[in-house]
Amino acid sequence: MALPRRAVATASTLIILGGAILLSTAVAPERPTRVISMAPDTRAYSLQELAKNAAAIGVVVPTGKSQVHWNSAKGEEWVALPNGRNPMIYRDDEFTVVEAILGLRQGQSITVRGVGGTVRDVHMDYEGQIDWQLGIQYLVFLREEDTPTLEGFERAWTVEIIGQGALPGDEERFTNAAGVKVNRSDLSELATVAAP
């Protein structure tokens, strides 16, 4: 006995969609239930200040490799300490140097630490952090910082001044959120500003 076509179609649709929803629930990352929004406020730094304070300057591209973790050895959330160290979600992004200006080598791989991301059920949003995009070149002003952890401090490369030291580029120039602009043709001059 032939089954009605409409019944077959409806049954197959329900089975496939139901399976998909179950599978989605099983394999999807956990959805955050707590959101911590942080908004730091600074003064706007000039190009000269960014260059003078930098330990490394270069044009980099994100490789897409990234690790997001709580700042403790176990990778677990912890309780703030009286000495000012706080639980934070760190994001370690890997980059390739495509043009070395100061303290970097062309082709070098470098990991830069920022703040923000999701670990299990907690999302931390830190305003001013760069949302690194694959395929985009960034002019970066980096320095090494003692980044706080539960156990103490970890030395890590960081972008200067909460994201002001990262300038996404187009074909002609690099520009940051505070309005600092650098023409591609002027990149080589940055080394002289940084090391007078």
Partner: protein, 209 residues
């Protein structure tokens, strides 16, 4: 064509939708778009306002004037006339916010101050918040008067006003005239709300009862 061709087409379409569901996973939180979070209302809490937010000055501050200027910043937002009111207090009892003054570490070592909101999804309301002023703000000092700050001084009233803006749930603005523009320089005074700043909280909060 096979007899059940339309059904097969239907099934294939369903399979495509299913693959999209699996690949996309559940809806992700758009955490950057936090302007939809606001303080919880406590009906019948207080005679004139439903969102009565007590902010506790925790620890030591360099002067009473510093705390006075922080309170001045809160009043800028209170005066807009929406259904919330910030009240600063020296008492830790029944507070929703903490305000302190300390040496900020990376990543906030260069910041004037940092504001933090915590909310839980589901209810969607802000549960708690804090404002920390940096005792060593990047080579500058603090101006706690009501006149004009010096060329290397950060104006407490201006910066506090900005921080209260975050506390009321506003993000940074893209317009440099706004209080919520993310940068303020030494010697600069910026303690008046623009129409754009006010529109942000008018969108979030109903008119004060």
């Amino acid at each position: 064509m096979p007899r059940y061709a339309p059904s097969i087409r239907h099934a294939l379409l369903s399979a495509a939708v299913a693959i999209a569901i699996v690949a996309g996973g559940p809806l992700q939180t758009t955490a950057r778009d936090n302007t939809d979070q606001k303080w919880k209302a406590y009906p019948n809490c207080c005679p004139t306002i439903n969102r009565y937010i007590r902010a506790w000055f925790s620890g030591s501050f360099p002067s009473t004037a510093f705390k006075d200027r922080v309170t001045d910043g809160a009043s800028r937002w209170n005066n807009v006339g929406r259904d919330f009111k910030f009240v600063t207090t020296g008492s830790s009892s029944n507070h929703q916010m903490v305000i302190d003054y300390k040496d900020l570490l990376w990543p906030n070592g260069d910041a004037w101050a940092i504001e933090t909101n915590v909310k839980f999804l589901g209810g969607g309301e802000i549960q708690s918040a804090s404002i920390s002023f940096n005792s060593t703000p990047g080579g500058s000092s603090w101006y706690t008067g009501t006149g004009t700050p010096g060329a290397t001084q950060g104006d407490v009233t201006s910066i506090a006003t900005h921080e209260w803006g975050h506390a009321v749930a506003l993000k940074h603005s893209q317009y440099s005239a706004d209080e919520m523009w993310p940068y303020i320089n030494p010697g600069q005074i910026k303690d008046l709300l623009t129409l754009h700043d006010k529109d942000g909280i008018k969108w979030l909060y109903p008119v004060a009862p």
